[in-house]
Assembly symmetry: C2
């Protein structure tokens, strides 16, 4: 039985117990949420030894870090370094999005080295293999797609992005409406190209039952991808995007009915004033399934600093109810991220997630900040550093600029407001 | 006559004309907003040769960068470097907050070198002089405070932070209620210490007419400071803060009646779910006067990355109606910012301001992103870089990671979604 089926049967699984403990919620409350589909615990039956992570209603907002090679940069050692750095910076999950080098070997190395749940996008492998063996994405067969899904499942992947909502009807919607940047999702682009060439329906949609049976067998959590997500603010919340979201809502229900855990992926590029509406819509149309957003980026022009544009959108999405933030690194739109970019990306997304946790009234999150404020008031620098979201950088910054008096910092020196008030009241 | 008086008399000043042109608004519309106090143009009569900047209703959101020495780091050359870097990164205004070294000399050098309006906090100089000459802030006399205001005015400073809302009544409100971090504003702490020691009212409040007559003489824009701003999320929107805001509303009206331009400073540390309320409250209580926010930081634990916490809060505040964002650098809470920190801080605040401009429907801001999206769709990398908010970093990132094919980037290499779709439709 899958996690979902066990929850429905009233069994409190070990994964539920561990997540409940980590999140300070009652196991039966959590199990009921898994049963109703508002929480997922991505955990492949074959993946043992990782710490299970809960995503959804009433839990802290989680952060995912994408790693993986491209055709232009395919050094597996570098990607494993990124894996370690992302986990050190407290990413909750990792996605391996490799499209270069020996994809299978790297995925297995990631599975072996990751202490957190791992996600993949099997269609990438199918497309890469079609290009390598037959010279083009149009040569990708449905069997190749499903065999990639099965390979990833067997390797123990915990969640998979599946672009089953890129249907012929959705593409027609996109065509008739027109768009500024058409399709920017790789999975969406691979499938659209194949579908338009063959004038055939998306195999992941048409053979969705086949997909569900693999997912059910290994207890894969499906992450229904938004292959038509807006690639710029001008395309956000348009007919193509919402058409796909309607399909994803329907597919989420079918997954849930089949005992398969499911979450929904969201944009992308969204103007700040549309972010809340995006979340409200997803929650309503997908029956409260966890929402996994990529950003959203609230401007198109922040290349080099897209982790900041992402933190703004992610925090507002989180406040509105998004459950899972996919990081964006400073290198987005420019290059494959470096190890440092990965670190920056994780921290920025964690700031957004934490700010949203506080805004949602999560007591543990609020208390962390209270502790920090007391340390600040007490001019306790060691405690301030240890409570920081990034103690490494906080410590390095403080060490780089020594104040003449140890109880203040060089920003205000002796004119530190906190010290002045403290000295006055203590004297 | 001041800008405000001229606007009320129906004169379209040269400053109004220049700002109207830069902002693509009609000069008479802008002048009417200056007259009603919803827009300010900080411009000291003595400060010639700078580009005037408008702040408020219907205009792009502006970004301020703080520079200045402390007792622990007082290298004037370093501060002038920060000035240049901030202006290069497109800060709209500069505040010199120096409390170390030869404060007067540095201020004059900043005035001489700045091409944008300059603000200061004269109470800092009064406090530093009281400590240097007489050994303590409690020796700061009202005359010393007003002489600092007058010195800064004579030097051509365009706007000044004046903590006139730190009244005995507000301090009593703070005491009776209790707070986690009491007072974190330097100006607030200096004044509170003096007031509590002398059991006397804040001279900036008690002798507000004296202040207004200096401001009117030089056409200084008053930036009514929030000396009791919350220093942590737990203190946000509390009785002490709102008591002070009520006073600032009253003082803003008196300034306006006296022909003096005025804006209101706001927090600080605010949970994301209270940011909008803060702006609504300020606008209502201060009759639509421009709102100048410091952050707000949406978490207390982002030391080392507070520019990101600030970008989140600033974007949401901007969307709700804030007009002017004071940057926060990565060094906040840890040290005096370096030149690099200044640069990072300006860019982060500009991303927030731009995202909010778009959310507020500002056509020019929306069009910039559309242009970028078209360049992205066209795989036009030179244009993408030149349209970036930080072309220097965007260019450096792209150069650091050369793709094998010039029309893509190393993120996806040949599997670039945009390229795949383009090739398909072009073939």
């Amino acid at each position: 039985m899958t996690q979902l089926e066990q929850a429905r049967a009233g069994t409190i699984t070990e994964a539920v117990q561990l997540v409940a403990q980590a999140e300070c919620v009652e196991p039966d409350v959590l199990s009921a949420r898994v049963a109703e589909g508002t929480v997922v615990i991505p955990l492949n039956k074959r993946n043992t030894g990782i710490r299970p992570v809960g995503i959804g209603k009433g839990l802290t907002i989680k952060v995912n870090a994408n790693i993986g090679t491209s055709g232009d940069q395919a050094d597996p050692e570098e990607e494993l370094k990124k894996l370690r750095v992302a986990i050190d910076a407290k990413a909750d999950t990792i996605m391996d999005l490799s499209t270069g080098g020996d994809i299978t070997r790297l995925r297995r190395a990631v599975m072996e080295n990751s202490t957190v749940p791992v996600g993949t996008v099997p269609i990438y492998q199918a497309a890469v293999e079609a290009v390598r063996s037959n010279g083009g994405i149009i040569h990708m067969t449905p069997d190749l797609v499903f065999s990639a899904v099965e390979d990833h499942a067997r390797d123990g992947v915990d969640f998979m992005t599946i672009h089953a909502g890129v249907t012929l009807a959705a593409l027609e919607q996109l065509r008739s409406q027109g768009r500024t940047t058409d399709i920017v999702s790789r999975g969406g682009a691979f499938l659209a190209t194949w579908m338009l060439y063959h004038k055939a329906e998306n195999p992941l949609y048409e053979q969705y039952e086949r997909l569900l049976s693999i997912a059910r067998e290994y207890d894969i959590t499906l992450s229904l991808g938004d292959g038509l997500r807006p690639g710029c603010l001008a395309d956000a919340t348009d007919r193509a995007q919402i058409h796909e979201l309607l399909t994803l809502g329907e597919l989420a229900q079918r997954a849930s009915d089949a005992g398969v855990q499911v979450m929904i992926e969201g944009p992308g590029h969204v103007p700040l004033d549309q972010v809340e509406a995006q979340v409200v819509l997803q929650k309503r149309l997908c029956n409260g399934a966890p929402f996994y957003v990529l950003g959203p980026l609230v401007t198109d022009i922040a290349a080099g600093h897209d982790h900041i544009a992402c933190a703004i959108g992610g925090a507002v999405a989180g406040m509105a109810g998004a459950d899972f933030l996919c990081y964006v690194t400073p290198s987005e739109h420019l290059k494959l991220p470096s190890v440092d970019d990965v670190r920056e990306g994780v921290i920025a997304a964690r700031i957004a997630a934490h700010a949203a946790d506080i805004a949602r009234g999560l007591e543990r999150a609020i208390n962390t900040d209270k502790e920090m404020s007391k340390a600040r008031k007490g001019l306790d620098w060691d405690k301030q550093i240890s409570l920081s979201i990034d103690p490494v950088k906080a410590k390095a910054y403080r060490s780089s600029s020594q104040p003449s008096s140890n109880d203040v910092c060089t920003m205000c020196g002796g004119f530190c407001a906190i010290k002045i008030i403290k000295d006055y009241f203590d004297s």
